[in-house]
């Protein structure tokens, strides 16, 4: 019936934030989906692509295409990784028409997690409960490449006990940008401190986002600043009961 989902957890979640992947699986299973985890999966290749190493990115992308060939639907707990697949794989294979066709087929079945819930599963209330005051950080890839704005907010609106406060200014980059965060560390640090100022102004206890990389940047900054504000991935909030 099409309720089989493959998880692409992303290399960052796999190695650094495994609970995010588990939370995502939990939420999907609660909605009645059957979830599998193709073991051959590794990475979408974004670090190489963003660093200008297109050949290397291509190699990794091919591996991704092979790993998920048989999957019906693939759900990803990351806006930037989803965008890499749905918006940039095509850039890598312009000269390989056959692979390009496989890329276009893949684009249609890869979903960012929040979008999957609202647009495919048609679920805004996943039965979550969490007593907290949170603010939501729109990761840039999710926001501008995938056009995601309201889906996570609609999902959070249905979490019992949760108060959402928007930060001002909104929609500003956290400063991660992949290798940018270490190549231009001081600049990246300045950007995250501006983000943290906006977060603290909301008075929220928790920052929620759909991108683990943003969360790593923001949490790293909050921790360095000695703040007790914590970060959570949307999946973890939605899995809370």
């Amino acid at each position: 019936m099409g309720n089989q989902i493959s998880l692409f957890v992303t290399c960052m979640v796999d190695q650094l934030f495994p609970k995010v992947g588990m939370a995502m699986a939990t939420v999907l299973e609660r909605l009645g989906y059957r979830v599998d985890f193709p073991e051959e999966q590794t990475c979408c290749g974004q670090p190489a692509f963003n660093s200008g190493y297109r050949n290397e990115a291509r190699i990794v992308a091919r591996h991704f295409l092979k790993t998920f060939e048989a999957s019906e639907k693939i759900v990803v707990p990351s806006g930037s990784c989803t965008a890499m697949i749905t918006h940039h794989f095509a850039d890598l294979f312009q000269k390989e028409p056959e692979t390009l066709e496989r890329v276009h087929a893949m684009e249609k079945k890869v979903y960012e997690f929040a979008t999957f819930l609202t647009d495919v599963a048609g679920a805004e209330d996943v039965g979550a409960r969490m007593q907290d005051v949170v603010t939501f950080h729109d990761g840039c890839h999710a926001l501008r490449e995938l056009g995601i704005r309201s889906a996570p907010r609609r999902l959070l609106a249905h979490v019992k006990g949760l108060e959402l406060r928007e930060m001002l200014p909104a929609e500003e980059c956290c400063g991660f940008g992949g290798t940018f965060s270490v190549k231009f560390a001081e600049l990246s640090g300045a950007m995250v401190r501006t983000k943290i100022d906006a977060i603290l102004r909301t008075g929220a206890n928790t920052v929620v986002s759909l991108d683990p990389s943003c969360l790593m940047q923001i949490q790293g900054g909050l921790s360095r600043a000695g703040s007790s504000v914590r970060t959570m991935h949307l999946a973890e909030v939605l899995a809370s009961r």
Partner: protein, 472 residues
Amino acid sequence: MSVEFDQKIHTTLADANLQLAIYTATGRLKEKRIEAVSDAWLPDYQELRTQANAIKKHAIENLDHYLEEFERNVEARGGKVIYCKDATEVSDFVLSLAKERGSRLIVKSKSMTTEEVDLNERLEHHGLESVETDLGEYILQLAHEKPYHIVAPALHKTRYDVAEIFTRELHVANETVPEKQTLIAREVLREKFLHADIGISGANFLVADSGAVTLIENEGNARLTTSAPRIHIAVAGIEKVIPRAQDLAVFLKLLARSATGQLLSVYASFLSGARRPGEVDGPEEFYVVLLDNGRTKLLPDRSKRQSLYCIRCGACLNTCPVYRKIGGHSFPWVYSGPIGAIITPQFMGVSHEPGLPFASSLCGACGEVCPVKIDIPKVLLELRSDVKKSETREGQNRLEKLAFRIFAWVMTHPRVYELAGRMAGGMAPSGDGKWINSVPSPMNVGPLKEWLSQRDLPPTPSKSFREMWRAR
């Protein structure tokens, strides 16, 4: 990146006053733009962007045709078009004309293109007095500085800076009130306008079907520059051509709103040549300098040539979280911000400043606000690839190339990937579940060191996701 680039960024970040000035000035412009293009004020904004992009695309893809049409129409009304391949040819032309006409005093309105070719410096070197008349540019000329921002050149100067500059250069009493400072400049420059022999302007648009230049401004200095002196020279990059006067209905709706949030700039001049018979005032001679200076280098690449669509509104600067921290003077060329980041490597070669395309988190805010829909992030990514190809050719940055080769290999061998993950996890500090503030010296190198210089590190979990999944 070069040491110079790194240093300039560091210096700017360390200057708290400058940080505040840049952030608030750009913040204001950013917010005003958002309102001016909102549904309440410009319901067909997205459609206009699409149209503007289509017009520019067509003009650039047929540039030779439109340049020739423009030229024909200028000359049909007695004007002259001079093609210049570089900075020297531009100044040579102006100098020879000035000599022929016995001109000593030139007034100039704001033109990034003339900044690009260091026109003032060249003219002054040859004994001409060439005075900037836009208030911000005038202040900078007195201070011997380059513009800080495409639209707000003196963004980084406080009123006290201005007072100091005026006192030193104009020998006036110390005046720190901006309204009064403006009056000082107005008086000095009025004299220049009325006595100058030549007025040099830029051109926001070159209108092919009319042989006309369009000038957008708020102060009135461009109008005076092009109306008071006997000779008007407009200097513009060849990419400024648009096909029809009627296309201005699209561009004029987008330009001021994108730049400053105004519905229209105070003055928009459509100038098509010297004064006509019967007209009482206006210049007697009209010249348009069409500048290449490397623009033809940006044309061959079908994707990157969209960089030439730019109408110099500055919206990308105002919205860029990077520009808003590092400011205009960190950039290696006169054009700063996201547009500067994509055109500089194309004009100067990627090795000129190899770090430039990487000085971005690829947040995409620039592409979102560009009125002509230049896909700036896409061009940045292409330039990053160009930089790496160049480095591979030159045998530079071998270690990084090797690292990514290994990355690709590891990521296509899941068992190796898993093993590497477990090993790294074993070595990395677990932090007892807390985020990590520092690591022992031997480990504090490279990317790890850079990361830790600014923020804490996540603790390594005891199990990876796949290990947890298997254990389910």
